[in-house]
C-alpha cells in the first residue's frame, strides 16, 4: 500500500474518503452521477492545467501565465470564429499553436537565458492577458457552432463530457510519463538540482522548454474547453486561475522547491478541493465561507506537515 501511496497520499486519501462520506451523508444529491460530472465540469479547466503544473513545479519552476494563456486562447478563438469567420476546427488548431508558442517563449527565457521562471511567467501573465484584452476589449463574443458548444456542455460518452474524458486520459498519460518513464525521472533529477543534472550530461534546457511548452499547450486547450463550456468569451477568462491551480498542486504534496511530489497526490488533492467545494455548495454555504474553508484546509495541510518534518529533522541532532 505505502509503495503505491506514500504517507502523504495515504493521508489525502483518508481526508478524501471522509469528505465523500460526510457529503453523501448530508446531501442526497452528492453521489448522483450528474452531480459528480458537474463537480468536475465546473472546474475542469483548472484541474486539467493542474496536472501539467505538477511537472513544472517538480522541475523546480513555476508557470504563473497559465490563466492568462487560457484567456488568450479563448479570446483568440472567439476573434477568429466570431469576427474573422475562420472555421472553428481550424481556429482550435491555431489556438493550440498559440499555446505551444507561448510555452516555448516562457521556456526559452527560463532555460536558455537563465531568468527565474517566477519573473518570466509573471511578465507573460501580464503580456498574454494584455493581448487577450486587446483582442476582445470590453466585448463578449459567443454564438459558436453547435458541435463546439456541445463538446463543452453535453456528454460525449454517455453523460461524460469531453473535458472530463480528456482529464482522465491526461492523468493516466502523465502518470505513466512521470512515474514510469525516463522523462519523468529526468524531471525529478533536474528538479532536485539542475547543476547535478547538467553534470550528469542531461540537456536540462531542452527538458525545461518541453515542459513549458506542454504547460502552454494544455492551458490553451483549457481555454478552448472554457469557451465551449460557457458558450461565450470575454477578456477576463481564466483570470486568477493560476493561484487555484498552484494551490491544488501544492496540496497534493508537490514541493514548491521542486524534486518531489507525485501525480497521485495531485489527483487526490484535486478531488479533495472539488468535493469539498461541491459539498459546501449543496449545503448552501456561501462563496465567502467556501473560500475561507479551502484556505484553512490548505494552511492545515501544506504548512503543518512541513513544520513536522522540520522538527523531525532537528530532533536527532
Amino acid at each position: 500500500m505505502t509503495r503505491i501511496l506514500g504517507p502523504w497520499e495515504t493521508f489525502l486519501l483518508v481526508v478524501l474518503v471522509l469528505i465523500y462520506a460526510a457529503n453523501a451523508w448530508i446531501s442526497p444529491e452528492f453521489l448522483t452521477l450528474q452531480n459528480q460530472v458537474n463537480l468536475f465540469q465546473l472546474s475542469i479547466e483548472k484541474v486539467t492545467i493542474a496536472l501539467v503544473m505538477a511537472f513544472v513545479i517538480i522541475n523546480a519552476e513555476i508557470d504563473l501565465s497559465v490563466g492568462s494563456m487560457m484567456g488568450l486562447s479563448a479570446c483568440a478563438f472567439a476573434t477568429l470564429v466570431g469576427e474573422a469567420g475562420v472555421p472553428a476546427a481550424l481556429a482550435c488548431l491555431l489556438c493550440l499553436g498559440v499555446g505551444l508558442a507561448g510555452g516555448f517563449l516562457n521556456g526559452w527565457f527560463v532555460a536558455r537565458m537563465g531568468l527565474p521562471s517566477l519573473v518570466v511567467t509573471l511578465a507573460t501573465l501580464i503580456g498574454f492577458r494584455g493581448v487577450a484584452r486587446i483582442l476582445l476589449e470590453d466585448r463578449s463574443i459567443g454564438s459558436f457552432p453547435d458541435w463546439f458548444a456541445a463538446l463543452g456542455q453535453r456528454g460525449l460518452i454517455g453523460p461524460i463530457p469531453l473535458g472530463l474524458l480528456s482529464f482522465v486520459l491526461l492523468f493516466v498519460l502523465l502518470y505513466v510519463v512521470l512515474e514510469r518513464g525516463g522523462f519523468g525521472r529526468k524531471t525529478y533529477v533536474i528538479g532536485v538540482s539542475r547543476d547535478v543534472a547538467e553534470f550528469a550530461g542531461l540537456d536540462t534546457a531542452r527538458h525545461k522548454i518541453l515542459i513549458f511548452m506542454a504547460s502552454g499547450l494544455v492551458a490553451a486547450y483549457a481555454g478552448l474547453l472554457f469557451a465551449a463550456r460557457v458558450g461565450a468569451v470575454r477578456g477576463d477568462v481564466g483570470q486568477g486561475f493560476e493561484l487555484d491551480i498552484i494551490t491544488m498542486v501544492l496540496l497534493g504534496g508537490v514541493s514548491i522547491f521542486g524534486g518531489s511530489g507525485t501525480l497521485t497526490g495531485v489527483g487526490l488533492a484535486i478531488l479533495i478541493v472539488l468535493s469539498l467545494r461541491n459539498g459546501m455548495s449543496l449545503m448552501n454555504v456561501t462563496g465567502h465561507i467556501q473560500t475561507g474553508v479551502v484556505g484553512l484546509l490548505l494552511i492545515a495541510s501544506v504548512l503543518i506537515p512541513r513544520l513536522g518534518t522540520r522538527l523531525a529533522r532537528r530532533s536527532p541532532a
Binding site: 470575454r234 461541491n278 455548495s281 462563496g287
Partner: protein, 344 residues
C-alpha cells in the same frame, strides 16, 4: 406604472370582469427558492432580499428561501456554479440578477431542463434563453430618457459627459446605455450633449473611483459623469469630492438615496434616480413562486395579483426578441430636496 394605473381605473369601472382575469396566488405551497444576486455585499441586493423575504412570509411558503451569491472577484464562475447546483438540488425557482451575460445560458438551460424555473430580475439573460420571465425594474427605454434629462438639466443643455458603467457584460446597464445613446441621437433637445466615452468600473468601488478620475484627466472639458450603477455613482461622487472637482464635474446616474444623500446635499451629485429594490425583490418572488408552484404559466398576457403591489401582466420584452417581462416601474428622481427623506 401608467399601465398599472390604467388597469386600476379599469378595475374601478368594471370590477367583476377585471377580477376574473387576474390570478390570485394561493399561499402555503412548498417550494424551495434561490435568490441569486450579481454578487454579495451590495446594499441594493440586500434590499431585494428583504423584499423577497417579505413575500416569502406573506405567501407562507414552508420551503426555503436561500440568498446565494458569488464573491465579487468570482462573479461569473460563481453564478454558473450556483445555478448548476440549484438545478442538481431540484430547487423550484432561481431568481437571478445576471452578471454573466450569455455565459450563464448553458447552466440556466440545464437547470430549466431539470424543472427549475429561472426568473431574472434587475439584469436579464441577454438572449433570453433558459429564462421564463424577466422582472424589469423600469422600462429600459425610459431609463435612457431619464438619464438624458438629468444630464440636460445638470449641464444646462450643453457640453461633454461620460458614462461610468458596471461590467461590460451587464445586460441591464448595456441596455440603458444603448437607450441613452439612441435618445441623444433622436431628440433635438439633446443635440448639444456630447457623450465622449463609456468606461467600466466592474462595480468595484476602487476600480470605479480610479476610472472616474481617469475620465477627468483624459477629458479636460468634462462636465458630468453619468453612472448607471449604484456602486459607480457613489465611487465617482467620492472621487470628485476627494479631489475637489465637484464644481467642475458633476455626477449623476442611478444611486441609492442612503449612499448618495451627502453628495446630493453638497452639490457633487445634484440629481440621480432609482427605483425601489425591496419592491423589485417582492415582485420577483411573487412571480417565481407562481411559476414554480404551477399557478402561473408564464405566458404573454397572463395577469396576476402580486400581493400588496397589485396587478401586473406578463408581456413581450420590447428590448429582447422572444423574451418576456413583467414591468415594475416607476423611477424616482432624487435631488437635495427629497433625498434626505428617502435616505432613512
Amino acid at each position: 406604472m401608467m399601465k398599472t394605473l390604467g388597469l386600476a381605473a379599469l378595475l374601478a369601472t368594471s370590477a367583476t370582469m377585471a377580477l376574473a382575469q387576474a390570478k390570485t396566488l394561493t399561499p402555503g405551497q412548498e417550494v424551495d427558492m434561490v435568490l441569486l444576486p450579481k454578487f454579495l455585499g451590495i446594499l441594493v441586493f440586500d434590499q431585494a432580499h428583504e423584499g423577497a423575504q417579505e413575500a416569502h412570509a406573506e405567501l407562507q411558503n414552508p420551503g426555503e428561501l436561500l440568498f446565494q451569491g458569488p464573491t465579487p472577484e468570482n462573479s461569473v464562475a460563481g453564478q454558473i456554479e450556483i445555478m448548476t447546483t440549484a438545478g442538481t438540488q431540484g430547487v423550484g425557482a432561481v431568481m437571478l440578477s445576471n452578471n454573466a451575460g450569455d455565459q450563464i445560458v448553458p447552466a440556466a438551460q440545464a437547470a430549466a431542463e431539470s424543472g427549475t424555473k429561472i426568473v431574472t430580475w434587475d439584469s436579464p439573460i441577454p438572449n433570453g434563453e433558459g429564462e421564463s420571465v424577466f422582472i424589469a425594474q423600469v422600462d429600459f427605454e425610459e431609463t435612457g430618457r431619464v438619464m438624458a434629462d438629468m444630464a440636460h438639466e445638470i449641464m444646462g443643455g450643453e457640453g461633454q459627459f461620460a458614462v461610468l458603467s458596471a461590467s461590460p457584460d451587464a445586460a441591464n446597464q448595456n441596455a440603458w446605455i444603448a437607450s441613452l445613446e439612441s435618445v441623444l441621437a433622436s431628440d433635438e433637445k439633446y443635440a448639444n450633449l456630447e457623450l465622449v466615452e463609456t468606461v467600466y468600473g466592474n462595480d468595484q468601488s476602487e476600480e470605479s473611483y480610479n476610472r472616474a478620475l481617469a475620465l477627468v484627466d483624459s477629458h479636460p472639458d468634462l462636465k458630468l459623469i453619468m453612472a448607471p450603477t449604484t456602486v459607480g455613482i457613489q465611487a465617482a461622487a467620492k472621487a470628485m469630492q476627494d479631489e475637489g472637482l465637484c464644481e467642475q464635474v458633476k455626477v449623476s446616474g442611478l444611486g441609492l438615496p442612503a449612499e448618495m444623500a451627502s453628495y446630493s446635499l453638497n452639490g457633487c451629485a445634484p440629481q440621480f434616480a432609482l427605483w425601489d429594490f425591496r419592491d423589485l425583490g417582492y415582485l420577483t418572488y411573487q412571480v417565481a413562486y407562481g411559476l414554480a408552484t404551477g399557478q402561473l404559466t408564464g405566458e404573454e398576457g397572463e395577469t396576476f395579483v402580486a400581493g400588496r403591489m397589485g396587478e401586473y401582466t406578463i408581456e413581450a420584452d420590447p428590448g429582447r426578441e422572444g423574451a418576456k417581462r413583467v414591468l415594475m416601474g416607476p423611477f424616482t428622481v432624487y435631488t437635495a430636496e427629497n433625498v434626505e427623506a428617502a435616505a432613512n
